[in-house]
């Protein structure tokens, strides 16, 4: 069975890519949504409380991190749909490596998130954003962002396996907003009431956003958050990866 783990994972990844091919509009909407948020917060809402330099330079790394956090609901929705359609029963009754279902999901979601990052960075460049630190720093920043996304992905899979119903996806979709905004993505913690600022500094997403700003040379960024931006996602993965895998195996209970 394990001999086919790679082949089956690739087949399941291709399944997701084929779905993109069938519904290109869906993919484009998913990629444009963060761009829309960036334009809204950058030019309409006019936030940036407590930001000293150019708000655009502060906001874009924040939006990159926020996009990774919002990926959670996309993962949860896709897994919930599979669970409710019965197609997962066919996969599980077939002589395939069962984990391939989750691996295919992960690979496709990570690929989509990487695409979303490229699009968002491209739009940022078009708006005049010039990240510092060169290509190595940019790749490092994308690595941190995707690591954070990977943790969100497994939280999403776990939530879908625990909740398993479309109504619960809606609840999470609503909750992701305050949790996502309870970070330094849009404004500095220093500009918030004391307790709120503390909560924001604790949010793992804030560490990722700060580390990315630091790598990309956004002026006035506190340095030294890179380790936190690596350790937090790994810690979340250490909890949710085994939980999700166990939940998946327990579908047969």
């Amino acid at each position: 069975m394990t001999a086919y783990a790679l082949t089956d994972s690739w087949t399941m990844t291709r399944r997701e890519l084929a779905r993109w091919g069938r519904q290109p509009v869906q993919l484009v909407v998913n990629l444009i949504f963060p761009v829309m948020l960036l334009l809204m917060f950058g030019y309409l809402v006019g936030g940036g409380r407590g930001v000293s330099g150019e708000y655009r330079d502060y906001l874009i790394p924040g939006m990159l991190a926020l996009t990774m956090a919002f990926g959670l609901e996309g993962t949860m929705l896709a897994v919930t749909q599979d669970l409710n359609k019965g197609v997962i029963d066919r996969f599980r009754s077939m002589p395939m490596a069962n984990g391939a279902v989750l691996v295919g999901r992960s690979a496709a979601d990570m690929l989509q998130s990487a695409l979303a990052l490229v699009v968002l960075i491209g739009v940022g460049a078009a708006l005049g954003w010039r990240p510092g630190g060169g290509p190595t720093a940019l790749l490092g920043a994308m690595g941190l962002l995707l690591l954070f996304r990977f943790a969100m992905l497994w939280i999403g899979i776990h939530l879908a396996l625990v909740a398993g119903r479309p109504e619960m996806v809606q609840a999470v979709q609503i909750l992701v907003w305050p949790v996502g905004f309870l970070s330094n993505a849009l404004a500095t913690p220093g500009s918030m009431p004391g307790w709120l600022g503390t909560a924001v500094e604790w949010n793992p997403m804030s560490h990722t956003a700060t580390a990315v700003r630091d790598l990309l040379g956004v002026p006035g960024t506190e340095s030294g958050h890179t380790w936190a931006a690596i350790i937090w996602p790994l810690a979340l993965l250490a909890v949710f990866f085994p939980l999700a895998v166990r939940r998946f195996a327990r579908l047969s209970r």
């Binding site: 087949t11 399944r15 359609k85």
Partner: protein, 316 residues
């Protein structure tokens, strides 16, 4: 082992405090169609999920195609096909894409998966669906594609869980024809259904399941014989006279269906019962639309066995 495709001994499965399977026993001979008949909640779907390795039984021994479903789940999966109650397809993809996906996951390799998908589309009359997504298929088409997907590797044992629920008569006829064509190929089929007619039409043997146990088993004829042979049906013109007719007629164990102005009773001597009924009705001046002798339907067998008398009310 060689001539037994499915063996279930004392299977148990409990959800909370509800026993979905309560010591179920079942043996299915290779190459036959076995019907599992029961009402909603009888444990039919739980049984299919246990047999197809989707669910572990809490207790009991379950073997499919010579392999234990818990310890040798992989070996079982190599040899089975499953048609669940809900279409197990990727709704966004087309028919060919679905079949190629499942073919690859059966490790046929790209070329054979493509060829097999083509064969199955042809066999189930789905070649002209083009690039249409499964989401846009009719109920019958979806069911046929689902069936095709469960036959990718010509399984030794095929499970069909209520294969025609929700289909119109035409879709049902299509699925029945497909199932009949399979059996010629030596596949063992286990079919669950709520439709007595379906079990009667397709199955060589039938197990009647209620509350997680098999309460009767046999051929359709044997089950019919169990409720005691022939019956007489009398349809009156006026429902108001049903009570008078029950009191008057020389019959015992009469059941009354007021909606259909029908009374029905078991008989031992067919001709004597028939002439007796006709004479008694004539003397009392009760008008009958129809008087008929017949074998019991599987419906009556079922109601008799499950003790469910909601639909057939026993007259005093």
């Amino acid at each position: 082992m060689a001539d037994t495709a499915i063996t279930v001994e004392g299977a148990e499965k409990t959800y909370g405090d509800k026993k979905a399977l309560d010591g179920l026993d079942l043996t299915v001979a290779r190459g036959t169609v076995h019907g599992v008949l029961g009402p909603n909640g009888a444990g039919k779907t739980t049984l299919v999920r246990v047999l197809s390795t989707l669910l572990r039984p809490d207790a009991g021994r379950v073997e499919v195609a010579g392999h234990d479903v818990v310890r040798e789940a992989y070996a079982v999966r190599l040899r089975i096909g499953l048609l669940g109650q809900h279409a197990a397809l990727d709704e966004e993809l087309g028919g060919r894409q679905n079949l190629e996906l499942f073919g690859r996951l059966h490790h046929l390799g790209a070329r054979r998966a493509r060829a097999r998908a083509g064969e199955l589309l042809e066999r189930f009359d789905l070649t002209d669906t083009g690039r249409k997504a499964v989401r846009q298929y009719s109920g019958g088409m979806r069911r046929r594609l689902d069936l095709a997907a469960s036959l990718i590797t010509e399984p030794e044992v095929l499970f069909l869980d209520e294969p025609t629920t929700g289909l119109d008569p035409r879709g049902r006829a299509e699925v029945w024809a497909s199932v009949r064509s399979l059996v010629g190929g030596g596949t063992t089929v286990l079919l669950t259904t709520q439709y007595l007619e379906e079990a009667d039409q397709l199955a060589d043997r039938i197990s009647v399941v209620d509350a997680g146990r098999v309460i009767a088993e046999g051929t359709a004829d044997e089950l019919k014989a169990e409720t005691g042979g022939d019956r007489i049906d009398v349809t009156l013109r006026h429902a108001g006279q049903l009570g008078a007719a029950v009191a008057l007629l020389p019959l015992t164990g009469v059941s009354v269906d007021a909606d259909r102005r029908l009374l029905s009773a078991p008989v031992t001597d067919r001709m004597e019962a028939l002439s007796g009924v006709v004479r008694a009705l004539k003397e009392a001046g009760i008008e009958a639309e129809d008087v008929a002798l017949r074998r019991p339907t599987l419906d009556e067998v079922f109601l008799h066995l499950t003790g469910d008398d909601r639909r057939v009310k026993e007259a005093a």
